[in-house]
């Protein structure tokens, strides 16, 4: 239910804002002092647009568009926070609305690759500063004074000598007729009022009283609900089905076969369209379907890992990066390391299972849902459904988690097909079991690492990765190496390790795979930083000092100094259970120290995690901390709790009883520190994840002498 009937005053109290914020689809009109609600559909017509992001009405009410998905990472806050900074408005006095999918207006909207801030801040800061300058010029023209005598503050332009003052609403019409200035002065970091401040998120109050509208919460007049019984084998088909019993379930309206695209393959299922979610579920249960699995590969997890191991022993793979030549050095060495690391397949398991509403109206389609890439969906649906792009309207709701899964295009396509056939707006809801078993998954990846040390230094490293390549599903050539082989590896290692190579040993299975928070860094980080630890120990060096020795860049040194200081590394003694790891991805470097001990039962207990992130320029330190905390918890689950197995082509884990998430009692205290510098912005949502697992297993080695090379593992059975 959207808060249609909530009074303005009440709403203000509810959100803790002195003006209005919105839940998706509706917001309060700035024109009227009463509680008029304007439909989200009209939102962009709201006020005068100074550019695609900034709209100001004649009363001075500012509306800022957040064009990226809000899936927990704080885009809903970060984008307006940086715009408001340069625009000179108070953040708690602006409306925030989600942008619809529109590449013309907003450019790239895919929320992925930790790109929301780092990919937009320069452009958005400039756009906002230039809007501010246009408002200042409009005021100066009105007053007939030099613009240099005017400045902007809190939604007003002020003439410094006379103290004259006008609010943006009085200026916006004139300002919008001006040419946007090309060269604008951006603020200095030390002058920031909003950016770099831990401001409370504007979406928080909507998430503590149940009013935030997620995809699954959205309703439309006349909307029907659908469930789909899909072939449980990952890419099997339908042979035949009997819907007699299903159609007798009260509330069930229609049953039909639906074929959606999973990359370039088809996934077939039977859709049950009904008057309620429950009726659709019951109808689905009553279906009798005979599946066609001809030509299907009955994959098994065990075979996958056996095969990957064999490939890593027998094949060199495609060379992805080579500096010097590790081979002759490794050949000479008597004492060299040669080990294999294994990481599992994982489900995204977003808390909000997949769902999507589509309304196919003939020559136009409107979509609502938890969508990470509204612009991609627009293009994809236009192409697959044969509807003009401008007639495909894609509305984002809040997302109950995304982690890469909701950037995929299967569920939106399926919803459109179902709405078309049903002739009504339809919400397709995936059960948890559907969501967990159908993929796409994070690929499980195995690594072979060979290396040697000489005089306390790394003399050669040779890494081979063997695992499915996500790029292949998107059409990239199979004879080029996976370009993600280096993800997670701190690039400054190349400054000191003169003989090093990375290669990709190609590996295919029929399992659909997709990005999962931090993508290949989530598994690479474990292999590479575990191996650094093994080399440090082989060299007889302190693992943290060993990293400092090999990462000579100023930023890495400062980062390592910081983690050394905050974790008390220097005062620790060996074998006390301290481990370190440092990884880089999406232009941010994170170092973590983990401290472990054994409890009375012999179980490994994680006592504490210290994390230091260098993400350059950032918007909201509290959001940065929250993202690193969340990344650590997600890494902890993937390292010690859960894994997706396949048996005869079926996904074994179906729900949280077997895909066991970490719980509150398993979470150690986490302390996060942010490096302050003036470097370019890096990512925040993902880079905190990769270093946790190797820091943990390195700590376990320090405590117990046991090296963990296969994930996940049981903390009770080390």
């Amino acid at each position: 239910m959207e808060p249609k009937d909530i009074s303005r005053r009440k709403f203000i109290r509810a959100t803790g804002l002195s003006a209005t914020a919105l839940t998706l689809g509706f917001y309060f009109s700035g024109e009227s002092k009463a509680s008029t609600i304007i439909k989200g559909e009209d939102a962009e017509n709201y006020g005068v647009s100074l550019n695609s992001w900034i709209h100001i009405d004649t009363n001075g009410k500012v509306t800022i568009v957040s064009h990226r998905a809000e899936m927990g990472q704080g885009a809903y806050q970060a984008i307006p926070q940086m715009i408001a900074e340069e625009l000179e408005v108070n953040l708690d006095e602006v409306n925030i609305i989600f942008g619809k999918g529109d590449t013309v207006k907003y450019g790239n909207q895919i929320t992925g690759g930790s790109s929301t801030v780092r990919g937009t801040y320069k452009n958005l800061s400039k756009l906002s500063a230039s809007a501010r300058e246009m408002l200042i010029t409009a005021a100066a023209n009105k007053w007939n004074v030099p613009a240099a005598e005017c400045y902007a503050e809190a939604g007003h332009v002020i003439h410094r000598p006379s103290g004259k003052k006008m609010h943006y609403g009085e200026l916006v019409v004139d300002a919008s007729k001006l040419e946007a200035p090309k060269n604008v002065q951006l603020k200095k970091i030390e002058d920031y009022k909003l950016v770099r401040k831990p401001l409370p998120r504007q979406d928080t109050p909507l998430k503590t009283n149940g009013t935030a509208v997620f995809g699954i919460d959205k309703t439309l007049p006349g909307m029907l609900y659908a469930m789909v019984e899909r072939n449980p084998r990952l890419r099997g088909k339908v042979k035949s089905y009997d819907d007699t019993a299903a159609l007798k379930v009260p509330g069930v309206k229609k049953v039909f076969k639906v074929t959606m695209k999973v990359f370039d393959t088809d996934r077939e299922g039977i859709a049950v369209v009904a008057e309620s979610t429950w009726a659709a579920m019951q109808g689905r249960k009553a279906l009798k379907v005979v599946w066609d699995d001809t030509g299907f590969d009955y994959v098994n997890t065990e075979d996958i890992y056996k095969k990957m191991k064999a490939e890593l022993q027998s094949k060199e793979g495609l060379s992805a990066k080579k500096q010097g030549d590790p081979d002759p050095i490794l050949a000479q060495q008597k004492t060299k390391l040669d080990v294999v690391y294994e990481t599992p397949y994982q489900a995204h398991a977003c808390m909000e299972p997949l769902n999507c509403i589509a309304h196919h109206k003939g020559d136009s389609i409107e979509i609502w849902g938890p969508i990470q890439a509204p612009d991609w969906v627009q293009g994809d649906i236009s192409q697959k459904m044969g509807v003009k792009k401008e007639n495909v309207i894609v509305n984002m709701t809040f997302l109950g988690g995304g982690f890469g899964r909701k950037a995929f295009l299967d569920y939106t396509h399926e919803a459109c097909l179902i709405s078309k056939e049903a002739g009504a707006p339809v919400q397709v809801i995936w059960t948890r079991e559907d969501d967990m078993t159908q993929g796409p998954f994070r690929p499980g990846v195995s690594y072979r690492a060979e290396g040697a040390v000489n005089n306390g230094e790394i003399s050669a490293i040779k890494f081979r990765l063997c695992g499915q390549n996500i790029g292949h599903w998107m059409g990239s050539k199979k004879d080029v190496p996976n370009d993600s082989v280096l993800e997670g590896f701190q690039p400054h290692y190349f400054d000191s390790i003169k003989n090093i190579s990375f290669s990709d040993v190609p590996f295919e299975t029929p399992i659909p795979i997709m990005w999962w928070r931090s993508v290949y860094a989530s598994t690479n980080g474990f292999a590479y930083e575990s191996f650094m630890d093994e080399l440090a120990i082989a060299a007889g060096k302190d693992p943290l000092a060993f990293r400092k020795q090999h990462l000579k860049s100023d930023r890495c040194q400062k980062l390592l100094d910081k983690v050394e200081e905050v974790s008390g590394w220097k005062n620790r003694k060996p074998k006390q259970g301290y481990g370190i790891a440092i990884t880089e991805c999406f232009s941010s470097t994170v170092a973590q120290v983990v401290k472990v001990s054994k409890d009375a039962t012999g179980k490994i207990k994680i006592d504490k995690v210290w994390a230091v992130i260098d993400c350059g320029w950032y918007v909201n330190p509290d959001t940065v901390r929250a993202q690193v905390e969340g990344s650590i918890v997600m890494a902890l689950g993937a390292a010690t709790n859960h894994e997706i197995h396949f048996k005869d082509g079926l996904t074994v884990e179906k729900n949280f009883n077997t895909y066991r998430m970490p719980k509150i009692n398993e979470i150690p205290p986490i302390e996060v520190f942010i490096m302050d510098n003036n470097e370019d912005a890096g990512g925040v949502g993902e880079p905190g994840l990769p270093p946790f697992t190797p820091a943990l297993t390195n700590a376990i080695y320090d405590l117990t002498g046991k090296r963990i090379r296969k994930l996940p593992f049981d903390l009770a059975k080390v």
């Binding site: 928080t204 009260p250 808390m351 979470i667």
Partner: protein, 156 residues
């Protein structure tokens, strides 16, 4: 189908539903309160937690007939202006990320604090263990519960 009276947030709703329909779907699809979430459907995640006669229950696993005439409180019934001390503490600690699990987390925390005004860490572990947060907001949930406890004991 059967006529069933539901008392949700002190308001009576007479609905016509399959008596076996889980309370969760009756609350969401028929009563129309969407704050209570579907996460697993099998009592494993806690996203659907509501109070029934003051006790936290998993609405996905209770047939709606079992809730007939009982007093049900959902997240919307706590307060719509975030004035409940647990909601206020959640905002102060900036707990939610995606927010999807938080209605259930908050309802569980409220039930805990009703039983134990000053819960220990072990009490928090015991009460909150069945509640999954995929975004990993657990450290903040713990802090928020402690903060809410302080607010409630000072008041009360």
């Amino acid at each position: 189908m059967a006529k069933i009276t539901l008392k949700v947030n002190k308001k009576e709703h007479t609905i016509d539903a399959d008596p076996q329909m889980p309370l969760l779907w009756a609350i969401r699809d028929i009563v129309g309160l969407k704050g209570t979430k579907y996460g697993c459907g099998v009592a494993q995640c806690g996203a659907c937690t509501v109070h029934m006669e003051g006790q936290p229950v998993r609405s996905c696993s209770i047939p709606v007939i079992g809730a007939a005439n009982k007093s049900i409180t959902t997240i919307e019934g706590l307060s719509d202006d975030n004035s409940h001390p647990v909601q206020a503490a959640w905002i102060e600690e900036q707990v939610p990320q995606c927010g999807y699990c938080q209605s259930g987390q908050i309802m569980a925390a409220v039930a805990l604090l009703q039983k134990k005004t000053s819960p220990t860490d072990a009490d928090i572990d015991a009460a909150m263990q069945g509640h999954i947060c995929r975004c990993g907001t657990y450290p903040r949930i713990r802090e928020a519960i402690k903060k809410a406890s302080k607010k409630m004991t000072v008041k009360g």
